[in-house]
């Protein structure tokens, strides 16, 4: 599991994950611009190191709950890329058979309990998964991703209190990207050090640089190990920045170009590339080769999605219930 950042292959694998998320999201931006993607799309660009670093410590039978900005979590946790892409297209070959779309990608076989269009809804769902693990006497772990905007939802409070009381194996990862939609965190949140929120429940807390995948992986490893070992929940606050708009197409009048371009100097991919090169683990040529390979993967996913059919209209009410119910 845990990435050995001294090891070339292991480091390259982390790099591939970062790249896969980045290229997947950039491809979506492009496709959305061309009118090929229905609905609205929230990309994870700039935050990749969090999902990749955290999920590098997870087993396939561990769980994650996710948000409206969920492609990165799903990819890092191992969702099938074709199924993900086809879902975002609304095709029947999508992981949710086209019912979900970008905001509702999920793969229960990989422990991905769903992206969720309701802010902070995942917190209480994660608590339930934690209760289930404890009740079944398993050593799985749940990671609950949520945002700095989401931290003010009542569900966060109810979930953290309960997980702490029961010492449930849940790691709360707050992705502090400074904005909730168009509104700066400062305008709506009473403390600037978000980890204080965890202390109120007697939980362990940790703060980290969410753009540094090595740091994310190392710090979150402790939280995940603790959870797995029965030491209870941790609140991890990962500072980062959302490179794109809230959604693809967002005019972003609420922040300066200067602020955005400054943040780009701390691009998690660049930082990790520098790290790999400076450590002499990977050279630039290799990095370029990886980009070509990943781009191909994503392109294949696009053509899979494009080739696929839409669901059949007569199936519109399938999957409402497990059994078929007539007349309602």
């Amino acid at each position: 599991m845990a990435v050995d950042f001294k090891d070339r292959e292991s480091s390259l694998e982390a790099y591939r994950q970062l790249l896969l998320i980045r290229i997947f999201e950039e491809t979506l931006e492009d496709l959305f611009g061309k009118g090929k993607i229905p609905g609205f799309v929230h990309t994870y660009i700039g935050q990749e190191a969090i999902a990749v670093g955290v999920c590098s410590n997870l087993r396939s039978d561990d769980y994650v709950t996710s948000t409206h900005r969920g492609h990165g979590h799903a990819i890092a946790k191992g969702i099938d890329l074709n199924g993900l892409m086809a879902e975002v297209f609304g095709k029947v070959t999508g992981i949710c058979k086209g019912r979900g779309g970008s905001m509702h990608v999920a793969d229960f076989s990989k422990g991905i309990l769903g992206a969720n269009g309701i802010v902070a809804a995942g917190t209480v769902i994660a608590a339930g998964a934690g209760l289930s693990i404890q009740s079944r006497e398993q050593d799985q772990v749940v990671v609950c991703f949520f945002g700095d905007g989401g931290i003010n939802k009542g569900t966060v409070h109810e979930a953290m209190n309960f997980c702490s009381v029961k010492r449930l194996p849940v790691v709360f990862v707050c992705e502090n990207n400074q904005y909730a939609q168009f509104t700066s965190r400062k305008l709506t949140t009473s403390v600037s050090d978000l980890s204080k929120r965890g202390a109120a429940y007697g939980m362990s807390t940790a703060s980290l640089d969410g753009n540094n995948v090595v740091e994310v992986a190392e710090v979150s490893k402790k939280a995940i190990d603790d959870a797995r070992n029965g030491l209870g929940p941790t609140l991890v606050v990962a500072d980062t920045y959302r490179f794109g708009g809230h959604y693809v197409g967002d005019p972003q009048a609420y922040r300066s170009e200067d602020e955005v371009s400054k943040s780009r100097t701390r691009d998690p991919l660049l930082l990790f590339e520098k790290h790999l090169e400076s450590q002499g683990l990977v050279d630039r040529d290799q990095l370029e080769l990886e980009k070509v390979a990943i781009t191909e993967l994503v392109d294949e996913a696009v053509s899979f999605a494009e080739r696929s059919d839409y669901p059949e209209v007569h199936s519109a009410t399938d999957y409402v219930f497990t059994d078929r119910i007539e007349g309602s």
Partner: protein
């Protein structure tokens, strides 16, 4: 047959399910102490605190964690005592529990039961007296059960826990303490099958939950005082809804009164009445009437509470109106 209370009958159903399947867990406030209406009495003692989990006053957590538990291998039965407290967990019911299976393309089922007590009970006041089945039955993906007597309470709860989909199990406070004959053995009563609680030929009373009891009283009065034979159709579950039984009865009697304790306006009765009218147009000899609460929050003062909420006499009145030329 021995006679036990509605509440006790649900304890038996829960215990049977828990004995059979160790993934069944019960969660809620104060349930270790038996719950507000004794519906959980003895479960902690038999199954221990890992399967009978006392929860903080955190309704969103109670139902949200039920969803999370249900999709990761448990079959939670979550209690919210008074149905009004579901309002603090509607996101978890409406946006999560109901939608998970559909929006994730059938990857998963959400086998959970939400138990909540509804209806008026001796001046419980505006925040502890209501019936919200109309909210839940409008939301696709939820099943809704509303038993009227102890035997059904036991069998329907057993089926609800068995069910792979989220079920809202509404137990009316007024009848929770009432006793009735209940078989000792473990049994299931299927969701989606109405019961003919009383046969009759002149008018059909379509109802569920506590109003079934009032309808039966009304039927007795109608027979004794007016020689009218009323048929009482007890729906037992609203989703799935057994319209076939309803239509069969009304096709026979050609008159129907739909009765529930919830507010008439915007209530579930509108669905039933509309379907009867659609399907039996031209065969009815009187308009389908609805009996329900008047449109006001439920008042505390006893005479006002009684004025707002229907019982047998309101049903009798409505039936007599359908029989006037």
């Amino acid at each position: 047959m021995r006679s036990i209370s509605f509440g006790q009958a649900t304890v038996e159903a829960t215990a049977a399910a828990m004995r059979e399947d160790e993934t069944v867990v019960v969660t809620g406030e104060d349930i270790g102490w038996g719950g507000n209406f004794g519906q959980f009495k003895g479960l902690l003692e038999e199954f221990g605190p890992k399967r009978v989990v006392d929860m903080p006053i955190s309704e969103a957590l109670i139902l949200g964690s039920a969803v999370g538990a249900a999709v990761t291998g448990l079959r939670p039965v979550a209690s919210l005592s008074f149905v009004e407290f579901t309002m603090g967990a509607m996101d978890e019911i409406i946006n999560q529990a109901a939608k998970f299976r559909y929006m994730f393309g059938g990857q998963v089922s959400v086998p959970m039961v939400v138990r909540a007590s509804d209806g008026v009970l001796r001046s419980s006041g505006a925040q502890h007296s209501e019936s919200f089945e109309a909210f839940f039955s409008h939301m696709p993906g939820l099943k809704v059960v509303a038993p009227s007597n102890p035997a059904d309470a036991k069998g329907l709860l057993r089926s609800a826990i068995d069910d792979d989909d989220p079920v809202i199990y509404l137990e009316n406070k007024k009848i929770t303490f009432r006793r009735g004959p209940v078989p000792e053995e473990d049994y299931r009563t299927a969701l989606g099958e109405a019961a003919i609680a009383r046969e009759g030929s002149d008018v059909s009373l379509i109802t569920y939950s506590v109003m079934t009891q009032h309808a039966l009283e009304a039927a007795q009065v109608l027979l004794e005082d007016h020689s009218i034979e009323a048929e009482v159709v007890d729906l037992r579950s609203l989703v799935p809804l057994d319209m076939e039984s309803v239509l069969r009865s009304v096709a026979k009697t050609r008159r129907a009164v739909v009765c529930h304790e919830a507010w008439t306006f915007g209530g579930f009765g509108g669905e039933i009445a509309s379907q009867i009218n659609e399907h039996l147009f031209g065969e009815l000899v009187a308009p389908v009437l609805r009996v329900g609460a008047q449109s006001a929050p439920i008042a505390f003062s006893p005479p006002l509470e009684r004025a707002l909420v229907p019982e047998a006499s309101e049903v009798v009145q409505a039936v007599l109106r359908t029989l006037k030329p």
